[in-house]
Amino acid sequence: MTEVTADTAATTGPANRSLFQAGVRTRKRHAAERRFRMMGLAAVIFGILALVGLMASILSNGVSSFTQTYVTMDVFLDPAKLDKKGNRDLKDIEKATTFAYEPLIKAAVQKVMDDRGIVVEGVNAKQAYELISKEAPAELRRYVLANPDQIGNTVSFDLLAAGRIDGYYKGRVTMESAALDRNVSPEQLVLADRLKQAGVLESRFNWGLFTAPDASDTRPEAAGLGVAIMGSAYMMLIVLVLSLPIGVAASIYLEEFAPKNRWTDLIEVNIANLAAVPSIVFGILGLAIFINFAGLPQSAPIVGGLVLTLMTLPTIIIATRAALKAVPPSIKDAALGIGASKMQAIFHHVLPLAAPGILTGTIIGLAQALGETAPLLLIGMVAFVRDYPGAPPEGFFDPASALPVQVYNWTQRGDPAFVERASGAIIVLLIFLVIMNAIAILLRRRFERRW
């Protein structure tokens, strides 16, 4: 190899030319070769580092959202506050608003501190109560409305700790930052530490992130993805039900039946272009046609589903046509040869053989649709929705959110706790995408045939 001899070669010029000595020009050329090669390797490493950096950034910001700080307390459900008439009539109990529940929690916090003998200088009863999330009274009220017979009893609750307290155990809030923060004081953090020692306050896996609905700006600890996951699931269902049959039918027509003429050409160019139209343009289409013209409700999964269907169709059509093309013509010829009609040959033989490829393409299309955000912003999915949509098909018309839109929504909030939630939501989204792509790869490995 020339590299071996390169270091011994010192002389230059045509007089000294030898096959065992590389000339200056050769060495230059080889150096250029190595440089070029290093540049290529550097580019590959950059690409991989970008992937690693992206994942590390999201994971490091988001993993902490999977745990949450809870306070376990016995709360006395005081009949004098909750059911003044004492007849346990649900209509009367409903009249007690969340304000009526606040004193109960306040009393419970005081009792916990008294029982354990926890005293922290500079924390009064009101400040101690602030350790508990503002969501807690609402949680208590929901429980009481579901179990009115528990009024008068003492019930043990796992209540959410306030967002700043939760942030303290995740490193987001420190003693120094608390001194400057209006929402939390260092003394409250000391109290939280004492409660943690006493085993009252602890961090646990955050199931609420997956089940709870969104929450308002002041209570990030209660915000969850429940409505968003349901909205996304509804939309994926609509996309699957609409785009798979339409996409497969269109591909069969274009691949097997369409005559080669201008009209077919127009359709094909159209599909190729639709695949490259920016997604936000589909959002404008949805807003103008489905909401403004057809009068469908804003923020509804049906509109999102229709828009995403139109976006996914080109992907599915392109994948299906490739899968149909990959089936060898001899199979269709054999079917035609023994007297099957063209339709029979396609539906009985070609389509089943192409099915794994079609399914793979469909799952990849769905995964794309699941992560799509921009068009959903325009059709109002970014609205604040706290109520779960109803059961389908009526539920398709109820307001809902979607996973990626919920992420965007949380990044627009002021409290840094929401950024943690947004990263956590991204992890959830990525897990769904990984599962879908893994299924697609498995399908391909398991069923793909090469002829």
Partner: protein
């Protein structure tokens, strides 16, 4: 009867049609002693198709058109005097719809009966508080005209729904009966149902055309509305973008175009060399071990949703650039900047460029490489002087496709580039793009009569034209190049 029940009934009729058609064919062939032309199932299938498809098609079209038509007829009945000062007819119609829905809800809950409703007058009863009791909140008190319109709306809607149900059922039964009565052993049932299915396949392929027509139609229609309210010259040539809620906005498009162009330029400057080098290295140099690991890893980047990149720009790249580069150099103090959005978008485009270039480099015939090696060229010389020139048209095509992606990308710029429309050259300042402004003008409470909202459609149209132009050019170049070597 709700539409879902109607669909179930039609599906039930379809199943019944299948068995009736099949039975009729078998019976007739037995009686007449004539052999069936097709398999018995095809007779059933042809009847079932005729029962289901026209009826469901009618239902779909009806559901789509009914609200529009009712709204138009009612909207004409609301006198101009009932429309509040400065408000729009469309807003009054929203109230009308809500009141109508609320009344239906009250009747369903048993708080109100039909005869009571027809006697009810808005001047004598407090409709607003009544509806609020049933959980329907209204923004303002109900004027008599609006209430009458709502009552009309409700009654027309009920009649229309009843007519719809009858029409759909008659279609299903009528067309189905006609198809059933045609069933004879000699009938070419397989051909009939196959022709029918073929027509449906063809119809599905038209969805693509309809989508394009919908996009172009809605963009053009609303853009024309916009240009009626706002002069086109100011839109295309003005350099200030300053929308105001109360009218008198400056809606110059140039700062947005500049921002879009600048961000895309940064992105492509990063993505094109790196993407191209990755493709070259993986195609020409890398061993199979590296390739089998690096190729999927880089393709993973392509499958990540753009919202993830947006978040990456917002929480990592933006603060990093601000704290380590922009502030020490005194170039700016904003974490959202052209550089932030451009770099992150560049990372997003790398796999796009590399996979397209990879295909193109692999399509260059091996004979060209062998010829070059035979003349004594090194690998990099072969790549630079033979492969890249041969692949150039394809690479230009890939570049154009990437540019069209960069221009149309939304989430990264919404979260990374900022919102201030500005014509500057400092890449560490926040600027804004066409897509950001489409999002900001169309989210939230929007009213479709003001130029501030309609401008989004004009922006959308320009975006569509730009990206379409780039795509068509790219496809043309790629196609032309492919012909050379095949």
């Amino acid at each position: 009867m709700t539409s879902s029940v109607l669909v179930l009934i039609v599906l039930g009729l379809t199943v019944a049609g299948y068995f009736l058609g099949r039975k009729r064919a078998l019976k007739a062939s037995e009686q007449d002693g004539v052999k069936l032309h097709s398999l018995p199932g095809y007779y059933g299938q042809s009847v079932a198709l005729f029962v289901a498809v026209p009826a469901l098609f009618l239902l779909g079209a009806w559901l789509f058109l009914q609200p529009v038509l009712i709204e138009n007829s009612i909207s004409g009945k609301v006198p101009d005097s009932a429309i509040p000062e400065g408000g729009a007819r469309s807003l009054v119609m929203v109230d009308v719809r809500r009141i109508a829905e609320g009344l239906t809800l009250m009747i369903e809950q048993g708080d109100l009966s039909e005869p009571d409703l027809s006697d009810m007058r808005a001047d004598s009863t407090n409709i607003r508080s009544l509806l609020a009791n049933s959980g329907v909140a209204l923004g303002s008190d109900v004027s008599p005209e609006v209430f009458e319109a709502a009552k009309d709306y409700r009654s027309i809607e009920q009649t229309a729904s009843a007519i719809r149900n009858i029409a759909v059922l008659i279609t299903a039964l009528g067309v189905g009966f006609w198809a059933w009565s045609r069933v004879r052993p000699q009938m070419r049932a397989r051909n009939v149902s196959e022709t029918f299915i073929k027509a449906m396949l063809m119809g599905s392929s038209l969805v693509a055309i309809l989508t394009t027509v919908g996009i172009v139609g809605s963009l053009l229609f609303e853009s024309i509305q916009f240009f009626k309210l706002y002069p086109a010259k100011d839109f295309f040539l003005s350099t200030t973008w300053n929308p105001q809620f109360r009218g008198g906005s400056d809606l110059g498009f140039l700062p947005l175009l500049w921002g879009t162009f600048y961000v895309s330029l940064v992105a492509l400057t990063l993505a094109v060399p790196i993407g191209l080098m990755i493709a070259i290295y993986l195609a020409e140099y890398a061993g199979s071990a590296l390739r089998s690991f690096a190729k999927p890893a880089i393709e993973v980047l392509a499958g990540i949703p753009t919202i993830v990149y947006g978040l990456f720009a917002l929480i990592t790249v933006g603060p990093f650039l601000r704290d380590w580069i922009a502030q020490p150099l005194g170039l700016g103090s904003s974490s959202s900047s052209v550089m932030t959005a451009g770099l992150v978008m560049g990372i997003m485009l790398i796999p796009f460029i590399s996979s397209l270039s990879d295909d193109i480099i692999n399509a260059v015939p091996q004979a060209l490489r062998d010829g070059s090696y035979g003349l004594g060229a090194t690998k990099s010389e072969t790549i630079k002087q033979v492969i890249l020139p041969a692949a150039l048209p394809g690479i230009v095509g890939a570049f154009l496709l990437a540019a069209s992606r960069a221009i149309g990308e939304t989430m990264i710029v919404v979260m990374g580039a900022g919102a201030s429309a500005r014509l500057g050259v400092n890449p560490f300042e926040a600027m804004t793009t066409v897509t950001v402004k489409i999002v900001s003008q169309l989210t939230g409470d929007t009213e479709f009569a003001s130029p501030e909202t309609l401008v989004a459609f004009a922006l959308g149209l320009t975006l569509f034209v730009f990206t379409l132009g780039l795509n068509i050019l790219a496809l043309y170049i790629v196609r032309k190049y492919r012909e050379q070597y095949e």
